[in-house]
Amino acid sequence: MKLNRRQFVVSATSALAMPAVLRNAYAADDIKFVSILDQSGGLDIYGKPMVDTTKMAIDEINKAGGLLGRKVDLKVYDPQSTIQFYTQFATQASAGDKADVVHAGITSASREAIRPTLSRFKTLYFYNTLYEGGVCDINNFCTGSTPAQTVEKLVPHTMNKWGKKVYIVAADYNYGQITAQWVQKYVKDNGGESVAVEFFPLDVTNFGPTIKKIQAAKPDMVMSALVGGAHASFYRQYAAAGMNKSVPIASTTFGVGNEHKLISAAEGDGMICAYSYFEEIDSPANADFVKRFKAFAGDGAPALNELAARSYEAAYLWAEAVKQAGSTDRAKVTEALRAGLGIDGPSGKVQIEPKTNHAVQNVYLAELKDQSFNIIEKHENQPPTDTLLVCDLVADPTQSTFKFENGLKAAGIDI
């Protein structure tokens, strides 16, 4: 991480120089950082690690003297996997707490519920989940990876390795639908064939019929964009039918809910996934990050995935922007972020792309072995090409829409 050393020293000395009484008096002047992430209900498998790493980031920032000489006060809300609480807590954070920044949202539904509110109350908003892409909002920084970034690398690699016939299974909602479209596009671009696309409601646990269909279709590989706890059953049942030996799986979603720890080594071995972060990335920065996290979260520390790492990095991205802007003012921080600001985090370099407010980031491919990922490829500085097709905030900074809300076709992308 590239902490600005000069500023660090300045703020640290100024904090020390200040009498203790005065420092306490400044508590009301704390910088307010609000995190709204599900910690109960069905989405808590994603939300809990994200909250843990956010806490760690803020903790580190404060230990290093805070920002602009002020302490960063983290407030965490648990919307309990219901949309209505997202809206409520976003309103509370922006209009009530007068938060300087809000990091929030896991599903696109939750992001879309709070994005207008945060825009209206002029509260800076970070969304740190990998998602289907397409948000075009001057106030909203989307730091997660999008399908074009990961699928573009994952599809050719796995097709070269396994074969040209691809069977696609995806969760039946906007993310799954759009990801499936990108997969189909890249399969075609690489001279392959998508033999079938099947969508699964998020509460399906019995994949028997589909496994039989896959056996009948005889594809070379399965591409999975399944999501959530219920869908984890797919990999178990697939392995139980002996299929993981004959038709391997690649996935754009497996592992972000730490599914690789939920299924056994025998069931998961050989799967290939693509994300902008894996706990197993071999770099000093990451080794240090993982070590610090284990120390911070204690014995029950969850496995780290893109969502968790990106939540940590996004907190630093924002902190860095605040330092550069010399203020927590939304316009100034936004300007600093959009000036091509980047940090070196555990995943490598993460930089804001000003046309989309999305992140240019590294993408890694990894193969699962014994419940952990072995990195097999690294692609640096991948731009959010999908969102770039529909969004140009440099040309028109007043935009605040989710272009892919109604699918790719409605956004004018024909693939």
């Binding site: 808590d44 699964f200 646990t205 019929p209 706890g229």
Partner: protein, 289 residues
Amino acid sequence: MDLLVSIIFQIVYVIANLALISLGLAIIFGMMRVINLAHGEFLMLGGYTVVVATNNGVNIWIAILILSPLVVGLIGIIVERLLIRFLYGRMVDTLLATWGLSLLFIGLITSIFGASTATTISPPLGVITIGEYTSSGYELFLIGITILLLIAVFLVLKMTTLGLVARGTMQNAEMASALGVSTSRIYMLTFGLGAAVSGLAGGLLAPITGVLPTIGTVYIAKAFITVISGGMAILAGTTSASILLGAVNGVVSFVTGPTLGEVALLLAAIILLRLMPRGITGSIFRKSL
């Protein structure tokens, strides 16, 4: 041909699955007129029993077949003594109390184990081959054990004193108490039995679906619909409703995909309840168990 056989196998499995997740609920509902909304969590607790036991080195078969029904059965008895027994005859109140129980269990398990739990168990028993198609041997085992479980419950209800008295109590509680039968004890044991069967089902499903604190919510609606469609008779109701709904779900899933499969199951249940408001066994097989 191979495809047909393997599709039929799959549909039988769907049916068995439905019967397995519903039976515990059916016992408690049929015998005691208690709709147990914590049923899904009993299944979940069965799954956690297996995971915790195997992580501590217990043999997976012992964990599934002995520990999960034992632990959850005991939990059921405790719950009955501390909560349900105060609420007999107050259907809506038991509904709410068991709903509270369901939230409590989810909260408790999340607090203890976290939102997700590492498991290393995988379905034992390898793979069976039907021509070009393969299925899980464990699925075959599940079909077998569901049939055995149905027979076992039948024997308990038909042959044992507990079963006889319990059936008497469920027909007419007052007459049973007039005959000097302790209805309180019978209710306790029945609830325990229902919980144990749910626990066993949860344990059996753990290797194939995994465990999460919130997994119960996936099961409860389906189990609920199966039991109500079946009607009051525990075994005949569960079996007939599972066959009907499972077949509808299985066939439609194959033809159109999982989305409409689930919808077809629910629609079949609605039409059934319109035609037979008291469930299948309210109209036919009335005298059965």
